[in-house]
Amino acid sequence: MTIHIPLTPNDTASAGVEARPAAGWKRRTRLQRAWQTLSPLLRRPGFSLALLIVLFALFAALAPHLLSHYDPYATSPADKLSAPGLEHWFGTDELGRDLYTRVVYGARLSVMAALLAVAIALCGGLGLGVLAGFAGGRVDAALMRLIDVLLALPGLLLALAIVTAIGFGTVPVAVAVGVGIIPGFARTTRAEVLRIKTLPYVEAARLGGASWARTLLRHVLPNAWGPVAVLATLDFGAAILATAGLSFLGFGAAPPAAEWGTLIANGRHFLITAPWVSLLPGLFVVAVVFSLNHLARSAEEHAR
């Protein structure tokens, strides 16, 4: 006697499914699906505000002249060290330059430096991490030792060594910071690749005849992307802080260039009489980095 239970589609999520004509379905494009996941995030006020701030900073990096009509290099001794007001939103520095303008123009150098740093870190870190995670065995062990070595060198000190060797300026600072961030990316990527490699669907793909290349490109990398993207956003903020730190110490672009770190360093001398010269540019940096962190965290929480 065999068991025969007629199949009723009652474990479908939607009850009462009607038969549709065979040619009735259309693939939803990736773009539509991406929009569907993104739109609830945009409705949150905090997220939108953070996004606006970051876009403002990026815009300032690309087209600063559209945001301010002053010349960042024009000195005006008569206006020196005036407090923030309607005429000068952030006040002026000791040479009478409008501080807001210098911050906006400084975005180009600082943001570009941070972008370069993250780009270097992504290429190096992703490459190392994927190689280590995918290859496994001895290659993995050797690469992890290399990462350990890089980790043992504190970020700023490694950067200091690099600028000692190749000189000061925005690009050396960016390279130095980028190299320092590589271990973090490599570790995260490796952990993700290792996790996904053992998941059943990767095994299923291999059993279905997929080559390693196909498995890597279609399954492992797209699924590993999430935590890496979050880390990239967080590290973009960290890179801004690190490049600002290096230029604060005097290793960035030479004056009168308006990097954020240099602006803050400059104002140090006038802390008692005109604190806004240091504090306001710093506040701007805090706003941008905090917004980046908020974006990264919201995206991560949303994905979970």
Binding site: H4, I5, P6, L7, N10, Y201, G209
Partner: protein, 539 residues
């Protein structure tokens, strides 16, 4: 003299608020539980049984709200009580034996300390004999070497031992009621049976009431004095086991009864004589080298089996028996340490991955966990046709046609091709996995615990689908499972594995009808519903 009931529930309704919406978890439930009675609450996922258990303990999450009704536990209305009063009840009046013993103990505290904590809470303060009582409790719940166990950490004990520790913790406060949450899900069948027997004995000795929360109707009928069947928060049926089995009132209960694979072996025509086996394992053994140690771990020892077209070979075993290793060796994912594997006459055990690849079109796998078997970024369409794309067999229009054909074959609606795995239920995902396995039109399909992660009613549907596909396409199946009832409904040949050794092997009717080994007999007896001969068990 009749006592007032220990638990009295009247018109209880509980709802959850989530993302601005209200979902009703329990609707107007009423029942009572007397002292010393054993009550089972049976329901599938989403029936509200866990919510009820939490409510009794006073452990409802913040977003749960008791809309109406009363919940009297030993004279205290838990629904209206404040946290202080509820805390007094926990441990001392109502105790919990949690579901999964592997994760229910604090991994950084010793066993003895965790039990002592419960004892100290019950007394209210420190007292000198607490250590002795800990040891006494450990002995009572059936643990050997109590002094040693008390000093150990949870990860040093097996699952069964941990479950006993949890029972000891529950008993420590000398409660009037023990809630056993899904006591049969996480452990092997034989272990479960022993522990449940023991629990019932301890409970009977002390006159404690037992409330069993379960999805397993058979087990509930076995052990409870009364049953409550719940569906989506509502009470469907309330009767004694006998009443339910011989005359269930509600169609849902009858469906549950029918869906639970009754232990009825199928009668199928035997293999055609003279046909060569499609897949054959001969004297296969597998040893694993342990990291940092010289000893080897033997996963399989001298396994031989044959699989013929149109037939189902079932491999039965508990965890650690080596059944998954056997599948992996058959698929070429592992090389056997001894013996060889033949597929359609060719010896494949020494093949490299590249050499094996063409054969992949003829032998496929359906994995155990439907929730991780599909790439979360692939639509159903992408997942189903991937094997075809990997082998470059079809493109464009032909590919879409094949996808339509496959999804119809597993009886899912056409527009599901567009969905992502997270939009599907467990049973639907498993069907997609089956469709993917069928894409290459294999001759042998290996099924690793294909239904163990699914609800009972869904299990039946997936099994029926597999049965129909076998009849239509003439595939051979190798079915691996720990659930004898599932195996009995599907298998022609059965192989029983225990710790890597073949304990018994032969036609299903013979293995189940006249089991030769004691282990097989123990497995059969451990099937819920078998022991009290309450369920129709036809052998």
């Amino acid at each position: 003299m009749s006592q007032s009931p220990l638990i009295e529930v009247r018109d209880l309704s509980i709802s959850y608020a989530f993302a601005g919406q209200r979902t009703q978890a329990v609707s107007q439930l009423s029942f009572s539980l007397a002292h010393g009675e054993t009550l089972a609450i049976v329901g599938e996922s989403g029936s509200g049984k866990s919510t009820l258990a939490n409510a009794l303990l006073g452990l409802l999450p913040d977003n749960a709200h008791i809309d109406q009704g009363q919940l009297w536990v030993d004279g205290v209305d838990v629904a209206q009580a404040d946290e202080r009063t509820r805390r007094q009840l926990r441990g001392r009046t109502v105790a919990l034996v949690p579901q999964d013993p592997m994760v229910s103990l604090n991994p950084t505290l010793r066993i003895g300390r965790q039990i002592a904590e419960a004892l100290l809470l019950a007394r209210g303060r420190r007292y000198p004999e607490v250590d002795r009582e800990v040891l006494a409790l450990l002995a009572q719940v059936g643990l050997d070497e109590p002094a040693l166990r008390a000093r150990q950490y949870p990860h040093e004990l097996s699952g069964g031992m941990r479950q006993r520790v949890l029972i000891a913790i529950a008993l420590a406060g000398e409660p009037r009621l023990i809630i056993a949450d899904e006591p049969t899900s996480a452990l092997d069948v034989t272990v479960q049976r022993r522990i449940l027997d023991h629990l019932q004995q301890l409970v009977a000795e002390r006159g404690i009431s037992l409330l069993i929360i379960t999805h397993d109707l058979g087990m509930a009928c076995d052990r409870a004095d009364r049953l409550l069947v719940m569906k989506q928060g509502k009470l469907i049926e309330h009767a004694s086991p006998r009443q339910i089995l011989w005359g269930a009132q509600h169609p849902y209960t009858r469906d549950l009864l029918n869906a639970a694979p009754a232990f009825v072996p199928r009668r199928r025509p035997g293999a055609l004589p003279g046909q060569a086996p499609l897949l054959r394992l001969s004297n296969v053994g597998k040893r694993f080298a342990l990291p940092g140690q010289h000893a080897h771990f033997t996963a399989l020892h001298d396994l031989s089996l044959e699989v013929h077209a149109g037939q189902t070979l079932a491999i039965v075993g508990e965890s650690g028996s080596g059944k998954s290793t056997a599948l992996r060796i058959a698929l070429g994912l592992e090389r056997p340490s001894q013996g060889h594997v033949e597929f359609a006459g060719e010896v494949v055990s020494a093949f490299s991955w590249r050499q094996f690849r063409p054969l992949r079109r003829r032998i496929q796998l359906v994995q155990q966990n439907p929730f991780a078997a599909l790439d979360p970024r692939f639509t159903v369409f992408d997942s189903i046709v991937e094997p075809l794309v990997s082998f470059g067999l079809l493109k464009g229009q032909a590919l879409e046609r094949k996808a339509r054909e496959l999804i119809a074959r597993v009886q899912l609606p056409l527009h599901f091709l567009d969905r992502l795995p997270r939009e599907l239920s467990g049973g639907q995902r498993q069907r997609v996995a089956i469709a993917r396995a069928l894409a290459l039109e294999p001759e042998v399909l290996l099924l690793d615990e294909p239904v163990s992660a699914l609800d009972v009613s869904v299990q039946a549907q997936v099994l029926a689908l597999l049965d129909e596909l076998q009849r239509e396409l003439g595939m051979a199946y190798v079915l691996v499972s720990h659930d004898l009832a599932v195996v009995a409904s599907m298998a022609d040949q059965v192989l029983v594995l225990r710790r890597g050794q073949v304990v018994e092997q032969g036609p299903a009717a013979q293995v189940f009808g006249q089991p030769a080994s004691a282990y097989t007999r123990a497995l059969i007896e451990a099937i819920p519903g078998h022991s009290r001969s309450v369920l129709p068990v036809a052998v």
